[in-house]
């Protein structure tokens, strides 16, 4: 009985044959793909942008592989775009101009733990939640927990300086990356930062984190591990008005309490989520506030009671304490899958993630509902309230003619309302290709010029993820790299 079928080798030739041959010679045939299916898939991420064009795709297994790929790309005059799990919402991993795509999913080893420094060395393809699960038996976790943590990678977290519900108390990813070995856009390898208390020189590590792949590719990451608190209290509060929930958040912080997380969902999103997870979310409340405190046993009770009292003062119709870990996990599962659950209502969504001062939350929220209504689209609000980080989801069906224009117009107005309230453009999703045009609303030409100087220091020739972050006209001369789209591609 012969059960072998035709070999599954990717066929080569076609566009970029010489480049592909060099890449394959350097890192191995099975680590380079260049077929139209692969290129089509890797031209997109989780964002709504579908105008990306991927070149050959490499799956390196080591720093040396990444270095070889970058050097070959330089030699062929091609840009390089790193990619993790492709869960970004701002289009940061969208390849523009058929660059070489460096998928880091196969560099997924957890290397070693330094207990004295409370640091774990990982490769960039390690999945965020896998790392936390690996650390759990040791009493630790990786604190940044973006909603996509079950799939997103440490490399992606680093590139986007990702947030998540728990960065209110624990800080964003930049706080949790101690050092990173990076392959710079010219192929040089440098260790940025270090485990020592105050590493020498400029904080290039700090500048690199959040660079959205435009500053180089991290190939080894020293991530801070955080001891897991023995006690956790998770409160679910219901409100008859979403503004009461927002005001509760402000009042909690004003009272000197910094919860581990404070998240708000409005009624529409709560209903969609409840339908998916059956966590017992109240579907009749106008908004629910999920607040979590962690620490030691007495302190969490003191804080939880104080938060509950503040909630009631602000008009909470129900205050519920999660009974056990199981209920807690369910509540969080609901919150973290909120975006995906939208599809039950409409097939497409678009969202911004502006940050506003907490005191302005209620006001800006009210504006989002007004703006959406004026443009005839539905908005749902689910957001990291403790950080003032809004996630107004505009949901729609892209097949409806003209809807995209209305969605974008509403999105732009929401951004402007947030900035007018003293906020910033993006709390955690990044700028990518999505928000470049808005950068000039927040920064002057001089400000953007200095951001570009930072970028140019790492990437003088604009070879790393060109066409991202800075608006055109403010970024280094990356335009010529964006024009050469190979012929004969269907995308």
């Amino acid at each position: 009985m012969k059960l072998r079928r035709h070999s599954g080798r990717a066929h080569d030739g076609g566009p970029d044959a010489a480049l592909v041959a060099d890449l394959q010679a350097a890192i191995g045939r099975d680590r380079v793909r260049n077929d139209s299916a692969e290129r089509a898939l890797l031209s997109r991420d989780a964002s709504v942008f579908d105008d990306g064009v991927a070149g050959p795709i490499c799956f390196p297994g080591s720093t040396a592989h990444v270095q070889a790929v970058v050097r070959i790309a330089v030699r062929h005059g091609r840009a390089v775009v790193p990619r993790g799990a492709g869960t970004g919402l701002a289009g940061g991993a969208i390849p523009l101009g058929a660059p070489v795509v460096v998928s880091l999913t196969r560099m997924n080893r957890i290397l070693e733990i330094d207990h004295d420094a409370r640091v774990v060395w990982v490769e960039p393809g390690v999945v965020n939640l896998d790392l936390t699960k690996h650390l759990q038996p040791l009493g630790f976790h990786f604190a940044p927990d973006p909603s996509s943590q079950q799939v997103c990678t440490l490399g992606g977290n680093l590139a986007n300086n990702s947030g998540g519900p728990h960065c209110l108390a624990y800080g964003i990813t930049n706080t949790h990356i101690i050092a990173a070995e990076v392959v710079l856009p010219d192929g040089e390898v440098a260790m940025l930062g270090g485990l020592d208390a105050e590493p020498l020189g400029y904080d290039l590590r700090g500048a690199f984190v959040g660079g959205e792949g435009t500053l180089g590719i991290a190939t080894r990451i020293a991530a801070r591990i955080t001891p897991t608190a023995p006690a956790v209290r998770t409160l679910l509060m219901s409100f008859a008005d979403v503004r009461d929930a927002a005001n509760t958040v402000s009042a909690v912080i004003a009272a000197g309490i910094v919860p581990a997380a404070m998240e708000v969902m409005d009624q529409r999103i709560t209903r969609a989520v409840e339908h998916y997870v059956h966590a017992g979310y109240p579907t009749d409340a106008a908004a629910v506030l999920l607040a979590e405190v962690d620490g030691l046993h007495d302190g969490v009770d003191i804080d939880a009671q104080a938060i509950a009292a503040i909630g009631r003062e602000q008009g909470a119709t129900e205050v519920r304490l999660a009974r056990d870990d199981n209920e807690r996990m369910l509540l969080w599962k609901g919150r973290k899958t909120a975006f995906g659950a939208i599809a039950q209502i409409a097939p497409d969504y678009y969202l911004h993630d502006t940050v506003v001062p907490r005191a302005k939350l209620a006001e800006v929220l009210a504006q989002t509902y007004d703006i959406a209504e004026r443009h005839g689209v539905i908005v749902m609000n689910v957001f990291h309230a403790g950080d003032g980080n809004l996630h107004p989801l505009l949901i729609f069906d892209a097949r409806e003619p003209g809807v995209l224009e209305r969605v974008h117009a509403a999105g732009a107005e929401i951004v402007k309302a947030s900035l007018a309230a003293g906020g910033v453009l993006s709390g955690e999703h990044g700028i990518g290709v999505e928000k470049q045009a808005y950068m000039t609303l927040l920064f002057t030409d001089d400000d953007l010029d200095h951001q570009n100087r930072l970028r140019k220091s790492f990437d003088p020739d604009c070879r790393a993820n060109p066409g991202k972050v800075l608006p055109s006209g403010h970024s280094c001369a990356d335009i010529q790299l964006l024009t050469a789209v190979p012929q004969g591609m269907w995308v």
């Binding site: 330094d114 207990h115 004295d116 420094a117 409370r118 300086n161 947030g163 209110l168 800080g171 964003i172 930049n174 040089e188 440098a190 260790m191 270090g194 485990l195 020592d196 208390a197 105050e198 020498l200 020189g201 400029y202 904080d203 290039l204 984190v209 959040g210 001891p227 004003a254 620490g295 030691l296 007495d298 302190g299 804080d303 940050v355 001062p357 907490r358 005191a359 950080d387 003032g388 402007k416 003293g422 910033v424 993006s426 709390g427 955690e428 990044g430 700028i431 928000k435 950068m439 927040l442 400000d447 200095h450 951001q451 100087r453 930072l454 970028r455 140019k456 220091s457 790492f458 972050v469």
Partner: protein, 309 residues
């Protein structure tokens, strides 16, 4: 609808004018770390950064403060409203503390300087007012200029004003000391100590939080040593050594003299200075490009470079 340009603020505009557009220039604060990073080149013009707290929004956990403000003034103002920040009051100015970037002794409790500077407003080598970052804790809007400025010794831009993250003061904060404890075990036993110090014999620990939690933690510590409450940390030797936390297990007091080490952090305060550290060639080249891009004529704090001795 662009935010009002920084130049609209007469105080900032005056500072930018003082910095000017040419000639070597440096900001003079209280000179508490004047020699850090090398001697300032002769003939460098000195200017003073503007002073004063612009606003402190405790409920937003931020403070906007001008660089020339004495640290003591900032610390006192925050304390009045039940807050603190990551900058240590070592007798200097806010701008100096950020330009040097030294962390607080309680860094495990109040965070690093690098992650506490949310927005930075500085004067560039071309004499322009530049804004980087933003007023919120969560912010990934563009490249991270604040991180680059922290610890840069004024070599990339001269800081005029910053927005810092603040934090509530802990309800209780207690120092305790024991001569017979293993500092590494002490550190592992505590959930979030603000500091664990060790001089080779004696261990000091700072525990903060709600009073019942602090009491419970101190009670637990007694299993690890005969801890007694004390008023504060020991006197710290002058020189800062920056080591990896694992290095503290084999400190050599013949090399550094008497020391107090911060366990879990890697900072060591010692009698003698740390031998010079060096940047790898790749990092040195990258740093040189940063400097050249931000200060093409080399007029900002000439003679100084972060990490130089």
């Amino acid at each position: 609808m662009t935010a009002p340009p920084l130049a609209a603020d007469p105080v900032l505009a005056a500072f930018a004018a003082a910095v000017g557009v040419d000639g070597p220039v440096a900001v003079e604060g209280n000179r508490t770390r004047w020699a850090t990073g090398g001697a300032l080149a002769a003939g460098t013009r000195l200017v003073q950064a503007p002073t004063g707290i612009v606003h402190h929004q405790a409920e937003e956990m931020i403070v906007c403060v001008r660089a020339g403000t004495p640290m003591a003034e900032l610390a006192a103002a925050l304390r009045d409203r039940g807050q603190r920040c990551a900058l240590a009051d070592l007798g200097g100015t806010v701008g100096g503390a950020i330009a040097v970037g030294e962390n607080h002794l309680l860094v495990l409790g109040c965070g690093t300087v690098r992650s506490s500077v949310l927005e930075v407003r500085y004067v560039s080598a071309e004499g322009r007012l530049i804004r980087g970052g933003g007023p919120t804790v969560k912010n990934v809007t563009g490249f991270d200029l604040p991180r680059l400025l922290v610890g840069s010794l004024g070599t990339l831009g001269l800081i005029a004003e910053v927005i810092l993250r603040t934090n509530p003061l802990p309800a209780t904060s207690v120092w305790a000391m024991a001569a017979d404890a293993d500092p590494f075990a002490v550190r592992d036993a505590l959930l979030r100590p603000a500091a664990v110090l060790w001089d080779g014999d004696t261990t000091w620990v700072n525990v903060e939080g709600h009073a019942p939690d602090v009491r419970a933690q101190l009670a637990g510590l007694r299993a690890l040593g005969s801890f007694t409450e004390v008023a504060g940390p020991p006197a710290l030797p002058t020189h800062r050594w920056s080591l990896a936390p694992a290095d503290l297990r084999q400190l050599d007091s013949t090399e550094m003299g008497a020391f107090v080490a911060s366990v879990g952090v890697g900072m060591v305060f010692a009698e003698r200075p740390q031998p010079p550290r060096t940047l790898s060639p790749a990092v040195a080249a990258l740093s040189a490009r940063v400097k050249a891009n931000f200060d093409p004529t080399g007029r900002l704090n000439p003679g100084r470079a972060p990490g130089a001795r």
